[in-house]
């Protein structure tokens, strides 16, 4: 035991002395490894952000995993009565304790702008829709629970709509007139960014607000409003819930009506939809690391000549083969782990700096924290690279004859 302790301490002392003496070589190799680890860690972290951005885009359009869509139609293809659907829907929400659910209806409404009346796409939703679809309100706020009770309905409009109003201060509670038999004044409470494909004004209104005003408003006769019902539930129960909801709706709506419940979120298809991205990122990361490792091995090979003679001298003074092997490996591993720590720290400093973070995380609501697995992987990769790069000189050192090594 005593021998083991002194052998270990001795190896560390040797490794440290070696690093100190060959600091230029060590520094050069460490720079290569540190940059490689920094690149590896950064690529993984950037990959996470890219994945998060893709996830959020998917969730904005089709909801978070698992979002169940309920729709129904009667024998002649027309939708069942809204009251029957709403009743069954509300009963289901209570029965299954669903907290995030929204009816979603696309409607065309006429809006009186300063330069005339325009038909605007209106999405009628319930308050949880904002969370379910990651709606990001740039100005103002998302609908509050009591917005449905307002006499003047609350609207959240896209920035095209907002610009057409002259971008008024939301603090002044700007209003807009909804054209109808009896025009309705609505209050703008929030502004969202227009979706990339949007070129026209659009808006969102609460279902309950609209229900009170529907009779007063002019609706585009050509468009047929279409309602869907969405709920966000844990993926683990989504399969069973789908079956039950289908059964509940079919039973409640009566003969001739067919209910369909399905998932349309990005995770609905079993296979990891981000596997190609992950594979591509992993490929780049491995390539980066291999390049770093090659640099290190290259430098190790260049210095192996000098090391062999030194190792021969050490062995003439009683260093055993295992001791030499351990010391040489240790030197390489200690150096690369230090480089790995530097690389990971550099990566964190770069990616978490406000300027870089603002730049790379544009459009991402929940910027993922610096991934721990990237840091751990970076350090593990540095250790493995150190071990592999140290293996060659260590094996040479052990295999060479002491006499030849001294005369090398």
């Amino acid at each position: 035991m005593r021998g083991l302790v002194t052998a270990f301490v001795g190896s560390v002392v040797e490794a440290w002395a070696e690093l100190r003496i060959h600091r230029t070589r060590v520094l050069l190799s460490l720079v290569g490894v540190a940059v490689a680890v920094c690149a590896l860690t950064s690529v993984i972290a950037l990959g996470n952000i890219a994945q998060q951005a893709t996830v959020e885009t998917s969730e904005r359009s089709s909801g978070r995993p698992a979002t169940l869509y309920v729709s129904a139609y009667t024998a002649d293809g027309s939708p069942p009565p809204a009251t029957a659907m709403d009743t069954t829907w509300n009963e289901a929400l209570v029965r299954y304790g669903v907290q995030y659910a929204s009816r979603v209806t696309q409607q065309q409404l006429s809006i009186q702008f300063i330069d005339g009346v325009s038909v605007v796409n209106a999405t009628l939703v319930d308050p949880p829709y904002g969370v379910m679809h990651r709606v990001e309100v740039q100005r103002g706020a998302w609908f509050a629970a009591d917005d449905a009770t307002r006499l003047a309905p609350a609207l959240i409009v896209n920035d095209i709509f907002y610009a057409r109003l002259g971008s008024p201060d939301l603090g002044t509670h700007p209003t807009v007139s909804l054209v109808g038999a009896k025009p309705v004044t609505a209050v703008i409470v929030g502004v969202t960014a227009a979706l990339p494909y949007e070129v026209d004004p659009s808006m969102m209104m609460l279902n309950d607000s609209y229900a009170k005003l529907a009779d007063q408003l002019v609706q585009d006769a050509a468009s047929q409003p279409y309602s869907s019902y969405e709920m966000w539930v844990p993926p683990s129960i989504s399969g069973e819930l789908t079956t039950r909801l289908q059964s509940d709706f079919s039973a409640s709506l009566g003969d001739g009506a067919t209910a369909q419940v399905n998932r349309q979120d990005y995770a609905a298809y079993g296979d990891d939809p981000f596997l190609p991205i992950k594979l591509m990122i992993s490929g780049v990361a491995v390539l980066v690391l291999v390049l770093g490792a090659l640099g290190l091995v290259n430098i190790s090979l260049v210095t192996v000549r000098q090391r062999i003679q030194e190792i021969g001298i050490r062995r003439s003074f009683g260093a055993t083969a295992s001791r030499v092997f351990f010391a040489v490996m240790m030197e390489s591993v200690v150096a690369t782990v230090a480089a790995g720590v530097a690389g990971v720290m550099l990566s964190i400093l770069i990616l978490k700096s406000p300027w870089v973070e603002d730049f790379i995380a544009q459009g991402v609501t929940d910027v993922p924290p610096f991934p721990l697995e990237a840091a751990v992987l970076g350090l593990a990769a540095a250790t493995v690279v150190g071990a592999i790069a140290g293996l060659l000189p260590a094996l040479v050192a052990v295999r060479v004859k002491v006499i030849d090594a001294i005369r090398y």
Binding site: T6, G10, I21, H22, S316, A321, K401, I403, I406
Partner: protein, 237 residues
Amino acid sequence: MTFLQLRGVGRTVSRVDDRPLIILSGVDLAVEVGDRLSIVGRSGSGKSTLLNLLGLLDSPTEGEIFLDDEPTRRFSARHRDVTRGRDVGFIFQQFNLLQGRTALENVMTPLLYDTGAVFWRRRAIATEMLDRVGLGHRLSSTPDRLSGGEQQRVAIARALVRRPRLILADEPTGALDIETGEAVMALLDEIATASDAALVTITHDPAIAALATRRFQLEKGALVDAAAATLSKGGPS
């Protein structure tokens, strides 16, 4: 008292064309505690091979080497390394100091392979050893800042710091001028005497060889008593 013995030791290597090349043959030698041996011979006569065999750096292809009456052929590789570190101190012609390390670090190096108190006290022991060779004032000097004589004194301190029973000196004065060489040999003899170590010196220099109490000559791979060799050539007795 004999602690190292060579009985019929031979060393043969294969040439490129697979024909055997006999370097040493039928070497018998007994090394006693406190012995002073010198081995002379022409270049290529097998001097260094014999030194490597004595220092357990190499194994004979015939015959046997006994250390404390135990055949070294039975030693495991690890046991050979440990025994070499404990019992043998090497001094090389080109000093072979570890470049970039100070004199103190060089002398501390063999102590890294020791255990217990010697390991933990290695700095103090190495400092004391350098004091003994008169380099107490050059502890932090690296080899490139030391003269040839000083470098060889560091090498002597390094070879003797673990108090080996056998000191193997391969042309210890080969890279030094005559005066410095004599001073180095005197120092080597003094310290070896103080620690009761046997000293085997391989040299080209008859003057250095003459300092030994037992002198041998290597001729065509055979080790012969130098006096007998001289007689057989008709030289003075």
